[in-house]
């Protein structure tokens, strides 16, 4: 299972919670677009048959008996990647909103970075948000751009590629909290001196609905984002209480 161009072993990690309807298509598409990569679905305590569907579709499956959230699922995935000697781990959502066709773009940029984010607002596609949610995303991207010393426009994207140093770090430290897998993970990466880059990607229509434009929900989102960011910075660097 080698990435032909560079000899890197690539693992595609798909965190899935009750995604039995879309996960098989995503797996098939990953196999078509990135045939050299291994595919691992993290079944995050689903109540449907996500794990069985994913196994039939030919993916490896980590079945978490308890729902841990995206951060929890991803730490399990990074652990698997670290234990099994993968050089690159790519996170793709199970609902089909990410186009596996962009994986090669991410891999290309990963040659000189530790983390590459597939960003939704960087020019391609027509994904758009308004109001408090937009302010929240603006605030997050400016703060995190400063922290990582690069221009980031979409810090909450779940489409990411991680190199060996990021895999080793996230296998140890990946917060299970709300927004921990995106915002706090980036702060942790910055604190540990990892380089972050972004690549513009187009987003597809989400099978599980559209981003919320409810102003109250968006305001709550803004508050929780600020909260998450504050504590991400305030935490001691050594990694906290996760182990």
């Amino acid at each position: 299972m080698d990435d032909v161009s560079s000899g890197r072993r690539v693992l595609v990690i798909i965190p899935a919670y009750n995604e039995s309807e879309s996960v098989a298509d995503v797996i098939a598409e990953v196999a078509r677009e990135v045939p050299t990569a291994s595919c691992l679905v993290i079944d995050d305590g689903s109540r449907d048959d996500t794990a069985a569907v994913a196994r039939r579709a030919g993916a490896g499956v980590l079945h978490l008996p308890i729902n841990l959230g995206v951060g929890g699922a991803m730490r399990a995935g990074y652990r698997f990647a670290a234990e099994n000697g993968f050089d690159v781990a790519i996170q793709i959502d199970a609902d089909g909103q990410h186009d596996p066709g962009h994986v090669t773009d991410l891999l290309e940029v990963l040659a000189d970075a530790d983390i590459v984010i597939g960003a939704r607002f960087a020019g391609i596609g027509d994904y758009e948000v308004r109001g408090p949610r937009k302010w929240a995303m603006r605030f997050l991207s400016s703060t995190l751009s400063h922290a990582t010393r690069t221009r980031l426009t979409d810090t909450t994207s779940g489409f990411k590629a991680c190199g060996p140093r990021a895999i080793a770090l996230f296998a140890r430290e990946m917060p299970a909290e709300y927004l921990g897998d995106t915002i706090e993970a980036l702060v942790i990466a910055a604190k540990n001196g990892l380089t972050v880059r972004q690549v513009p990607v187009a987003m597809r229509e989400r099978s599980a609905g559209v981003p919320s434009h409810n102003p109250v929900k968006s305001a709550v989102y803004l508050l929780r984002a600020v909260f998450a960011l504050f504590f991400a910075y305030a935490r001691p660097t050594s990694g906290g209480t996760d182990r």
Partner: protein
Amino acid sequence: MSLLSYILSVAAASVTLLIVIDMLRRNRLRERHAGWWLVGGGLALAVSLFPQILDAVADLIGIDVPTNLVFFVSIALLVLVCIQHSAELTKVESQVRTLTEAIALLEKRVRDMEPQARG
């Protein structure tokens, strides 16, 4: 204070303390969680046996109504216990998380070793 209310307060404090000690004895409560309850029960027993302690302490720190001191100390104790429980819960959650990951990784290894278990 009437004799009845004196007996009632001593009995309430004693029963609380005895319950905590009995639970400790039966391993239903671990020592590290019981600390605050022992402190609270002990204080309650001391104050119910010798109410003049309460009056003296309240007078010393300038609280006009001694009962308010009881409320203050009780609420402070409850808040501390709640914070401790939240911290313990957080720790238990992160332990559960680590175990969940370990189980998932092991389950995959077992499955990969036993092809007939697939499906």
